[in-house]
Symmetry: C2
Subunit: 236 residues, 2 copies
DNA sequence: CGGGGGTTTGAGTCCGTTCAAAATACGTGG
DNA sequence: CCACGTATTTTGAACGGACTCAAACCCCCG
C-alpha cells in the first residue's frame, strides 16, 4: 500500500528543473505543494489503470514507472518508461479522456499526485505551464514516431541495440577501461515488451549479441565492450 | 511549379474552424494573412524535404498531403496524411529542429505557407494559438501511439481493415443500400506504405478481402458491402 | 501503338512467433 | 543456511506471416 508522507517541498525537489513546473513563481509553487499528495510505491503497484477516469497527474520524484498497454486479446506491451522529473498521465489529463495505458511501478518509486483542480488552476495562473506541456508533447510525438518508424524499418537486432543504448544513456556509466556498464532496471519480460517482441526471441537475440561480444548480458547486468561497435551496427 | 495567388482571406477560409488560427481576432487574422503566401501544388511536388531547415509551416486549404520518411537504406514509409485544415510542419517548427519527413503532395492541393516571423508573432499575441497547437500535438501523439501499438498487436489484415475504415470516414460515403463506397485518394504503393507493408503483400491481402466479400477493390474504388462485418473483424 | 510506372502473381526464404519443456533464479519457510 | 515451490529465463522444434526477387500483366499517357 502507498504510504503517505506529511509534507514535501516542490521547490527543493531535485527534479524541478526538468518538470513542467520549473518556471513557477514561489507563490504558485506553494499552490502546487498544497494541492499535491506525495506517496511511496513498490514495484507491481499501479498509479492508474487503462480505461480509468482521469482525475490528475503523477509527478515522479524517484524510481521508475512504465506505461503498459494491454489489448483485448491479452497482448501486452510497454509503451514508454518514465523517469524522475516526468509527469505521468498528462496526455490524458489535457485531452480529458480516459487513461490509454496502465501506469505500473517498475522500481521502488516516490511520486506526487496532483489533482485536477490544482493543475487547472496553475494552467490558468501561469502560461509557462501550458508551454512546457506543449514542448513535452512535441517530444513525446517525436519519440513515438521514431518508435513506429523503427519498428517497421529495423529488425529486432538493431532495435534492441538501439534500446540498449538508450537505457545505457539513462542508467549506465562508462568504466575506466572505456567499456560501458549498465544495470537494466526492468525484467527481461518487460524489456522484451519494450523492444516489441516476446521473451523467447529476446533471449535468443541477447545470446547472439553475447557470442559476438557486442553486448554481454549476465542477469540484468550488461557490459558493452565497445560502444562504437554498437553504434556502427545501428547506423548502417 | 507552384503558381502564386495574389491575395486570400483566412477569415473566409472554410477550414478556419478546424485550424489553430480559429480563435484569432480580426486584427491578428489580418497579421496572419499579410504574412502568409498561398500556392497551388500538383501531385508529386514537395512542400519540404526531410532534413531541410525549418522556416515556417504550411496550412492546407484543399487537397491531400503526405508525410513520407525515408531511411538511409532506401526504405520509405508514409507516416501520416494531412487533409484540409491541417497545419503541416508545426512539430518541427515548434521544436526548432529540421524536418523529420518529406511533405509530399498526393492530390492537387492549395496550401498557404506561413513564415517564422508571423507564427512567432501570433504565438506571442494570442495564447490560444499555443493552446491549439498543444491540443493538436496531444492528438498526434495519441494517433502515433495507437499506430505503434497496432503495428505490434494486429496482423496486416486487421491493420488494413482499420485503415480502410479510417479512409472511409474521411473520404467515403454511405450508399442508399447501406453499403459503403470509397475512392482511395492515394496509389496502392502509398497505401501499402501507410499500412506498414509492401505493395505485393497489400495486393494479396486485398485479394483475400475481395474473395470474402468484406472489402471489394476495383482500381482505387472500394465497396464495403457490410460495414458492421468489417467492424466485427477488427474488434475481436 | 509503344513505352513505363504501377500492380498483380508466383515461388522461395527468413525473421520472429508459438508451443512445449528444461534450466535457472528467487523468495519463503523450516 | 538450506530445501522447496514458484516465477522467470532459456532452449528446442516447428510453424507462419510477411518480405524478397522475378516476371507477367495492365493501364494510362504520350
Amino acid at each position: 500500500m502507498p504510504c503517505s508522507v506529511q509534507s514535501e517541498s516542490c521547490g527543493a525537489c531535485p527534479n524541478r528543473a526538468y518538470t513542467e513546473w520549473r518556471d513557477l513563481t514561489p507563490e504558485n509553487l506553494a499552490k502546487l505543494e498544497s494541492g499535491m499528495r506525495p506517496n511511496d510505491y513498490s514495484p507491481g503497484e499501479v498509479l492508474y489503470h487503462q480505461g480509468d477516469e482521469v482525475d490528475g497527474v503523477f509527478c515522479i520524484k524517484s524510481g521508475l514507472i512504465g506505461e503498459r498497454h494491454v489489448e483485448a486479446d491479452g497482448h501486452s506491451m510497454l509503451v514508454r518508461l518514465h523517469q524522475p522529473g516526468s509527469t505521468v498521465g498528462y496526455q490524458e489529463f489535457l485531452t480529458k479522456s480516459t487513461y490509454r495505458n496502465t501506469a505500473e511501478v517498475l522500481q521502488p518509486s516516490h511520486a506526487c499526485f496532483i489533482d485536477r483542480a490544482t493543475i487547472t488552476e496553475l494552467l490558468i495562473r501561469d502560461p509557462s505551464v501550458g508551454q512546457r506541456f506543449l514542448q513535452r508533447s512535441l517530444k513525446d510525438t517525436e519519440d513515438m514516431e521514431k518508435n513506429y518508424v523503427s519498428s517497421k524499418t529495423m529488425d529486432l537486432r538493431r532495435r534492441l541495440l538501439h534500446l540498449i543504448l538508450v537505457l545505457y544513456e539513462r542508467f549506465g556509466r562508462e568504466e575506466l577501461d572505456g567499456s560501458g556498464f549498465l544495470k537494466v532496471p526492468i525484467a527481461k519480460k518487460d524489456l522484451a515488451e519494450l523492444a516489441g517482441t516476446v521473451p523467447e526471441t529476446l533471449s535468443r537475440t541477447i545470446k547472439k549479441l553475447r557470442t559476438e561480444n557486442l553486448v554481454v548480458f549476465s542477469g540484468n547486468d550488461v557490459v558493452i565492450p565497445d560502444l562504437d561497435a554498437v553504434l556502427d551496427e545501428i547506423y548502417d
